[in-house]
Point group: C2
Chain length 239, copies 2
DNA sequence: GTTTATTTGTTCGTATGTATT
DNA sequence: AAATACATACGAACAAATAAA
């Protein structure tokens, strides 16, 4: 499974080495010159590979010193990157299950969603409400609006089994996602769907997912059980 | 205020033009070749300038077509990076205030903190509890353990006025921070400090802040009013 | 304390590939 | 089919920060 581009091949190889423990946390990587020689490419190509890993918070560089493996947060729950529920579950070796509560062509949608999609708001969209289970426990309820053009007919039928992200990526590459996390109290409806007592807190996450060229793909409003889920991420200091 | 680097100068100039309306939303910019000629630099330099604006979600590129100005509603608030409370407030043009509740040499600390600092856990640490106000409203309560070596004596006295981050950065550069966000219910103690009724939800954020070379600097457990605060961030899709 | 070697940061020029129009 | 525009890649050089001699 080779990429067309050398620098991505190298980024993958470096990433593999990090996961395999060849390069350990906080360890210095070989210098850019050494890596260039080892892979038989120019230094700029190595730099692009490293840049790609830095943007994924896997490496850190320090001018005059070297490139280091970033200390990774322990993965317990939560998302260590942009993954769908199914993918995140698989990475933790857990069984996930999905129950579709609603799946219709959206004839209208909240203003917040319309605003998010901008000029694409008039296109046909699928409104999807799903209940997600981890090890047979209800974990989250998703309310998703996704542009129909990115989801084929056959995909829709498989949404109880397949990852929505992987279905979408058959049609368009997923680039990034703006997320907003807040804390709310569980409502009556959600109390039933998530098996949580009224009065307990929930994590509410709004997210708008884009292609690499900033085309909006889907708007997701998800409710997570606060007792089972936390969100992990890494912020970079900007200077 | 000139930068040392050409590509940042150019990025700033392009950004200025966008703000001034020279390049309008959704308009195509001159090609990389044309810009290179105009600024009298190589195409690579233009690409670096454009990359920098893309990482700030200001521009978008499409292969074979061109570079476009991204439509920018850009809602206020939220963290576009790793900032302390004081800095984030300043960026929003709001008044912040700080009340120190505790400031001692820590003789013991929670296991979670010890574990986070690893081999540095035996060094002297300062335990700091602060109440933070925005426009005179209590917003968050912080519980911080910071390695004493990174905070000078004089700094400690100024913690009601100065940003902790900027004090620390006189001694060591801040690199990045692993954060974990969860939702909890307000306790009696916090109810008073945050002026929130019992039974309401709070955002609880644990964060461990590192130097660029992955040395742990401080461990922060912060409680945020859910009605006043949300967390915004951007996740990149990994391939 | 100064010099030297190492390592990342920036920039140039050039060439070729790939997607769009 | 041709022109345009971004994507990738190479080689080379010098600057700037760091660490070691």
């Amino acid at each position: 499974m080779k990429n067309k581009t050398i620098f991505l091949d190298i980024a993958n190889e470096l990433h593999k080495r990090i996961n395999e423990g060849v390069y350990v946390t906080s360890q210095k990587l070989p210098s850019e010159y050494d890596l260039a020689e080892e892979f038989g490419v120019s230094r700029l190509t190595i730099r692009k590979a490293i840049d790609s890993l830095i943007s994924q918070n896997i490496l850190v560089k320090e001018k005059g010193k070297g490139t280091y493996v970033m200390k990774q947060p322990k993965i317990a729950s939560g998302l260590g990157g942009l993954y769908g529920f199914t993918e995140a579950a698989k990475r933790q070796g857990k069984r996930s299950k999905t129950k579709i509560i609603e799946c219709t062509i959206a004839d209208q949608m909240p203003d917040k969603v319309k605003q998010a999609f901008g000029k694409y708001a008039d296109e046909k969209m699928i409104h999807l409400v799903r209940q997600r289970f981890l090890e047979d426990e209800p974990m989250t309820v998703e309310d998703i609006y996704v542009l129909q053009r990115y989801v084929s007919e056959s995909s829709i039928e498989q949404l109880e089994e397949q990852s929505l992200f992987s279905e979408i990526e058959k049609n368009i590459e997923i680039g990034y996602s703006h997320q907003e996390v807040e804390a709310i109290l569980v409502t009556e409806d959600l109390s039933r769907l998530l098996d949580v007592e009224v009065g307990q807190p929930l994590l509410l996450v709004h997210s708008l997912t884009y292609s690499p060229s900033a085309k909006p793909i889907l708007y997701d409003t998800s409710f997570y059980r606060a007792d089972k889920y936390t969100f992990k991420h890494t912020l970079q200091r900007k200077h």
